[in-house]
Amino acid sequence: MSITCVIDLSKLVIPNKTDSISGRGFGEGIAEREKVMQHLEQNDKFIMRIDSKKVKAINDSFIKGFFSEVFRTLKSRQRVREVFELDASDNFKRLFEKNWAILEAINAAA
């Protein structure tokens, strides 16, 4: 039976110290910590929550690191959209969409 996991990216920043999330390695580490691939095997879904008040910017590298394995499995943006729901501002939604498009193209080329 599939469940829905919530990944709150706002928890990755330290208030009054950092307000941005960056790094490919960091993204890969968070995906591993949240056991994303294991959940995907169970057909679980995800809600990615980003509080714009706490998180000001997210780097492309973080998104690419987080989703690189996911795209190797799901292949297309459409499938990723079905599994990952974004609870974030429009700016962040656009950012994720563009990076998903880039990852899709990279995986298609590979």
Binding site: K17, S22, G23, D60, N91, I106
Partner: protein, 248 residues
């Protein structure tokens, strides 16, 4: 009694300036006159010119002036074809260059212009203030390039992406006290590398290979063949990799 007959006068001709070996052995018979033997001396050369002799058929069809005319005609036709071809290629280059400029260079330069403004007008600001803007522009550039990958498959997208990501990560990992101006040199280096990569592709790959397919194909085959030979010589195994994908 008639006296002794005077010998027939010999038509002596003034010697001409030719080599001693080139000499006529007999004078040509003139119309109405019997052939007369010509006394030749080692120092006297006679030019012989038959008047009513007919030229060989080949000579009549292609004499020297005809040959020259034919060569001139061939050269003219070749020049015309070459001029037409050069004009056509020139037009194609212009069209390809304009298309590449509109589709690729202009949008990317516009993106960098946004970053140029930040680095020019907000030098004193804390770098962390502009994280979002920098990430947005660099994402936009990568997104644009990935869309162009289907049109320009040989474009070094991965290299450009890596450079943009490297700078983006560096900028995001700034110290809280660091200013925008502290990252100008790194930004300028990244921008130069990205634009260099695009120009390199435009000049050396896109225009050359696409506009001169036979030369481009020959060059790729030659290059790949050499690489394969080197690999085979080094490893003793003949590689079986497929040739690079051709431009659409």
């Amino acid at each position: 009694m008639p006296g002794p007959v005077a010998p027939h006068p010999v038509h002596a001709v003034a010697p001409i300036q030719t080599a001693p070996s080139v000499r006529a052995s007999a004078a040509a018979p003139l119309l109405g006159q019997a052939p007369v033997p010509v006394a030749t001396s080692p120092k006297t050369t006679v030019r012989a010119q038959p008047i009513n002799s007919t030229p060989a058929p080949e000579e009549a069809a292609f004499n020297t002036s005809d040959k020259l005319a034919l060569i001139s005609l061939v050269v003219s036709v070749l020049t015309f074809v070459f001029t037409l071809s050069a004009g056509y290629q020139n037009k194609r280059i212009e069209i390809k260059a304009r298309k590449f400029d509109k589709l690729c260079l202009e949008p990317i330069e516009a993106g960098f212009k946004g970053l140029d403004n930040i680095f020019a007008n907000a030098k004193g600001d804390l770098a962390s203030v502009h994280h979002e803007a920098v990430a947005e522009v660099l994402t936009e550039i990568n997104y644009l390039l990935i869309q162009l990958k289907s049109i320009y498959p040989r474009l070094d997208f991965d290299g450009i992406e890596r450079r943009c990501d490297k700078f983006s990560e560096l900028f995001f990992d700034c110290e809280p006290t660091e200013r925008v101006a502290d990252y100008f040199a790194k930004y300028f280096y990244t921008k130069t590398q990205v634009l260099n990569s695009l120009f390199h592709y435009a000049i050396e790959d896109h225009i050359f290979i696409r506009l001169m397919p036979p030369i481009g194909k020959w060059w790729r085959d030659y290059r790949d063949g050499r690489q394969k030979k080197q690999v085979a010589a080094a490893t003793g195994v003949t590689p079986t990799s497929s040739p690079p994908k051709a431009e659409v």
